[in-house]
């Protein structure tokens, strides 16, 4: 351990600066604090809904297929990773029209609508609202609110199995759509482990690897789940549409 710069018998690894004891992690240069809950969660809440109400295989399949299809339809390398919901708000109207036109009659669209209509119903400025244009849906507001609570509740703790599945799917989809590249020297874990062997060491490695990479991305700003307008408006909206309990 690095030699302590203070006389105390505890927290020897902390550095004393004036009257403060600074923990080792906060001594790292360029360290930036990010908030998964405040900034990233609203960007991944759509995936949370899908994983909660369909089996894992189907959820992974439709989510990655949808994102890859969007990439093919838009055919623009500069497009931000759409795994993060807020990035749909960066698309132009014609881009959204193209996506909806291509997806028409695709079971994927039915699947997405079925799983996300409660979010569309409740959330102001919902980035996937374009999927519901001219789509008649019937969802009870109370039921929708309860479902949204489940979506959020399941993701508030980013260390749970559910949250890990969501975060892993987001990261894998980024890799699959060319938004994330791993250097040849990086020892990439087997992402399937979180589904096939959730209690294994490999699964723990995946979870840690994913959180770490998402954190790094978040540090670069709104594109990868950092501070963004959608997240702010999401939390404002959900606070106002429901009471304290």
């Amino acid at each position: 351990m690095k030699k302590s710069n203070h006389q105390g018998s505890v927290l020897k690894d902390h550095k004393q600066v004036g009257r403060k004891l600074i923990p080792p992690m906060m001594q790292l240069p360029n360290m930036k604090e990010t908030s998964f809950r405040d900034d990233t969660l609203p960007c991944l809440v759509w995936m949370s809904a899908i994983f909660l109400r369909s089996d894992d295989r189907k959820a992974v399949h439709f989510l990655t297929e949808f994102l890859m299809k969007c990439k093919d339809i838009l055919d623009d390398e500069k497009m931000p990773p759409l795994a993060f919901l807020n990035n749909f708000n960066k698309l132009k109207k014609e881009d959204k029209d193209k996506i909806i036109k291509e997806l028409n009659d695709d079971p994927m669209l039915v699947f997405l609508r079925d799983n996300l209509e409660h979010q569309h119903h409740l959330l102001d400025g919902y980035p996937l609202s374009f999927l519901f244009e001219d789509y008649p849906y019937g969802v009870d507001k109370e039921d929708a609110l309860n479902m949204l609570k489940e979506d959020v509740d399941a993701l508030l703790d980013r260390y749970t199995s559910h949250s890990t599945k969501v975060q892993t799917t987001a990261m894998v989809s980024m890799a699959a759509t060319g938004k994330l590249f791993f250097g040849p020297k990086i020892d990439i874990p087997d992402f399937n482990a979180i589904f096939t062997a959730p209690d294994s060491e490999e699964s723990n490695r995946v979870a840690s690897f994913v959180r770490c990479n998402l954190n790094a991305g978040t540090g670069f700003g709104s594109i990868e789940g950092g501070k963004n307008e959608w997240s702010d408006s999401f939390w404002k909206c959900v606070f106002l549409i429901s009471e304290c309990e």
Partner: protein
């Protein structure tokens, strides 16, 4: 037939009786030195304060809970640290303690005077003037206020941690004074637990809401208060080599509750026999 008191009422009476008699016995053993009268006034007064606080606690069982008891216990631990530190250099440190107190009152008087000057029409000014007079008389009875310094720092020039280290009671500082300070100073670790509840709506990120929480009484707080009185007694016994014969507070406590348990056991046996 004599009414049998409930156990809590009985404890209040017995504990208060014990503290009163033991305090009187202990203080009667102290030989006051004619040339150190002020020093003995200080430590005697502090001993009385410690016992008084414990009596006040036992008289108010409703406050033996996490909301209120820490306020008393923080004061008692603070007192113990100060008393133990003064005992190490009785004359010099008790003088510091007194002089600092006089200076505090002198400053307080000046604030009151300024208040009257700034607001001459305040209907409370007459009362404030009486207060100033009483405080001035209190100071001047001890030292002419012309010669009273005002020290804006800590009376001992040390913080409580350093005082406790010097007085050999750092563990009391770490494990009692500091935790009770959290409640006494209304810090977040106390407020968040004792004055808030979690909103269970996940859409509100489980924020905390103010709540008037009832917390159950816990007689452990009284036990701790008894312990601090015990420690004060031990300071006196050790410092002045007193031949104190009665039970010390913790010995009394153990005996009281051992007897009570034994009494309950024997009641059980009687019930069985009959």
């Amino acid at each position: 037939m004599e009414d049998k008191k409930d156990p809590v009422s009985q404890l209040i009476e017995d504990y208060e009786d014990f503290l009163t008699s033991s305090f009187n016995e202990l203080w009667s053993l102290v030989d006051i030195e004619y040339d150190k009268l002020e020093a003995y006034s200080v430590i005697g007064g502090m001993l009385s304060r410690q016992v008084t606080l414990s009596i006040q606690m036992v008289r108010s069982p409703n406050m033996l809970n996490g909301h209120s008891a820490p306020l008393f216990l923080r004061s008692m631990t603070d007192l113990h640290i100060a008393l133990a530190w003064i005992m190490l250099d009785l004359e010099k440190r008790s003088t510091k303690y007194i002089m600092h107190g006089l200076g505090e009152e002198k400053l307080s008087i000046e604030h009151f005077k300024k208040g009257i000057e700034d607001d001459p029409d305040n209907p409370n000014n007459e009362q404030i003037e009486q207060l100033i007079e009483a405080k001035s008389a209190w100071i001047n009875a001890q030292r002419r206020d012309l010669f009273v310094e005002v020290d804006l720092g800590n009376w001992s020039q040390l913080d409580s941690r350093k005082m406790s280290q010097e007085a050999g009671c750092e563990s009391l500082y770490k494990y009692a004074y500091k935790p009770f300070s959290v409640a006494a100073h209304n810090m977040w670790p106390h407020i968040s637990l004792y004055n808030c509840k979690t909103c269970t709506n996940p859409l509100h990120k489980y924020h905390l809401l103010p709540e008037l929480l009832e917390v159950p009484p816990d007689f452990d707080y009284l036990y701790r208060s008894c312990k601090y009185v015990h420690k004060a007694y031990v300071l006196f016994i050790d410092k002045f080599d007193l031949e104190y014969k009665s039970l010390l507070p913790l010995e009394w406590w153990d005996e009281y509750f051992t007897e009570e348990e034994a009494g309950n056991d024997s009641d059980d046996e009687t019930t069985k026999e009959t």
